[in-house]
């Protein structure tokens, strides 16, 4: 897998979105969305609630299909893959859900083992245990291994959710509102974790958020989604200094200055 990752051209985007449109009934959520994400890069998609940010990453993961346009992930056009090919692609994509989406009826260990035992059947018990320990240590929650999700705090659940995606060694991470509903200290911990995941697991990421602190702390590049389309793209400061009134009004509600 490492060789495959290294062989992939450095200038070739790992995610390439072109002319993407998506509507739900008469509500057009995404229109003419274009985005490239390059290897080893954290791209933050910033925008208000209901602007289609989550829809965008669900299309990337193949959970939703677009009305038109193309989404290529690691060179594969997601909408043209059959079920088997999509499953194979998903092994390379990690998706951290807004509400963590931990399996309620399973312990933390079972949550982490779940994707591993079903996708890598050749693994022995010792190797599975080692993988679980590795990702739990990476997110700093080794002590929670036998706890149920209901016994964890919001921040812990988020981190376990991230650990569950890391166990398959994904090349791409998609974070859906990673700091939503968390206190400021836990937000900083999650931001640090996102940056650590990028370094330690050599991932490229899209981080969906409306939290400017998260965007500044984690984003190599920021893309501002307004009314279903990207209004501005660049570094955090470039987007922050935009003269676009709609972007300015978004920033004015935050206290990052």
């Amino acid at each position: 897998m490492e060789n495959e990752r290294q062989n992939r051209g450095k200038d070739e985007p790992v995610i390439k979105i072109r002319d993407l449109y998506k509507s739900f009934g008469s509500n057009r959520v995404l229109k003419d969305v274009n985005l490239d994400v390059y290897k080893g890069e954290n791209v933050v998609v910033l925008g208000r609630s209901g602007t289609g940010k989550s829809v965008l990453i669900k299309i990337i993961a193949g959970l939703l299909t677009q009305d038109s346009g193309s989404v290529c992930v690691l060179g594969e056009d997601v909408s043209k893959l059959d079920d088997k090919e999509l499953l194979e692609l998903r092994l390379k994509i990690g998706f951290s859900f807004q509400n963590s989406a931990l399996y309620d009826s399973m312990t933390v260990r079972e949550n982490l083992e779940f994707p591993l035992v079903r996708n890598k059947k050749h693994l022995k018990r010792k190797e599975i245990d080692a993988s679980v320990e590795r990702v739990l240590t990476a997110v700093g929650l080794a002590q929670t291994i036998n706890q149920m999700p209901s016994e964890l705090s919001g921040g812990q659940r988020k981190r376990i959710g991230i650990a569950r995606t890391l166990i398959l060694n994904p090349e791409i991470m998609l974070y859906d509102e990673p700091t939503a509903g968390l206190d400021p200290i836990t937000c900083i911990e999650i931001n640090n974790l996102i940056n650590r995941v990028k370094e330690d697991f050599n991932t490229s990421s899209i981080i969906i958020t409306h939290d400017l602190t998260c965007a500044k702390a984690t984003g190599d590049r920021v893309a501002m989604l307004l009314e279903g389309t990207f209004a501005k793209e660049g570094t955090f400061d470039e987007v922050f200094d935009s003269n676009d009134g709609r972007i300015k009004s978004f920033y004015n509600y935050n206290f990052i200055k």
Partner: protein, 263 residues
């Protein structure tokens, strides 16, 4: 409703959505039969679900079965006594229990207990994105959640039906023995003298069909739940209502088919 909105429907909103639902339900059933034979097989999950559905339903099934047998015998006695035919009680009760009551009572209890549980569980997994989480983990949630549960209900409802029949007959025997001092052997000899292989086969068929119905309806409702916690409640409720309705329709059909075979 504006003219433009009205044109969005072919017949009317209700009729259109009925056929859309029907189409989606048919596809769901077809997907089940396509995936049930394909690997990977979720053996552990099937056993877990059999335990959840079968073993955990035993107390309620035992109580209901026992009371059904006891009360049915008690209520039937005066009518038979008028003709001096109380000795026919074991046969009457056996016919009623084996041919109709055991499958139906088991199915209705299971539709309420198991069906609602499946609908609510899968529904809450849907609205909290746990099913999406399985998909993005490259795990087939249909196989893990739906196929395992439908297999479990299809296997366990016939076993529970057999158990209900035994408990109901026991309830009946206790009442008959208390009143007529009939021996255990005599009671069961007379009870089964009027039961044919076709009766047992027909009941078994009913139980298999009911089991499949309860499982697939619960899974379908849960899998297609939406609108947050309200959707979970609706899924649980619809699981019970729709499966009970289908059980009665299937009961009529199977009885008709059995009678036409009997000739």
């Amino acid at each position: 409703m504006s003219v433009k909105q009205a044109r969005e429907f072919i017949v009317s909103k209700g009729v259109d959505s009925f056929f859309v639902d029907l189409n989606s339900a048919v596809k769901f059933n077809i997907r089940f039969f396509r995936e049930v034979f394909l690997p990977p097989y979720e053996g552990k999950e099937i056993i877990k679900q059999c335990y959840e559905i079968g073993w955990k339903s035993l107390p309620l099934i035992s109580l209901t079965g026992f009371i059904t047998g006891l009360v049915f015998t008690k209520q039937s006695r005066p009518s038979l006594a008028e003709f001096g035919a109380t000795s026919w009680l074991p046969s009457l009760v056996a016919i009623a229990i084996i041919k109709a009551l055991a499958p139906l009572v088991t199915a209705l209890i299971a539709a309420g207990k198991v069906g609602s549980n499946i609908g609510a569980e899968i529904g809450s997994m849907r609205v909290t994105e746990q099913i999406d989480a399985m998909e993005v983990s490259a795990v087939n949630p249909f196989k893990f959640l739906v196929v395992s549960r439908v297999i479990a209900t299809t296997v366990m409802i016939p076993i529970l039906m057999f158990y209900t029949g035994c408990v109901a007959m026991l309830g009946s025997y206790i009442n008959v023995h208390t009143n007529e001092m009939t021996s255990f052997v005599a009671f069961f000899e007379q009870a089964f003298s009027k039961i044919s292989f076709l009766d047992i086969f027909s009941s078994l068929t009913k139980a298999v069909v009911y089991g499949y119905t309860i499982g697939i309806v619960g899974c379908y409702q849960g899998y297609n739940a939406s609108q947050g916690t309200e959707g979970v409640g609706k899924a649980a409720n619809a699981s019970v209502v729709v499966s009970m309705f289908l059980i009665f329709v299937e009961e009529i059909l199977i009885v008709q088919i059995t009678n036409s075979i009997r000739g």
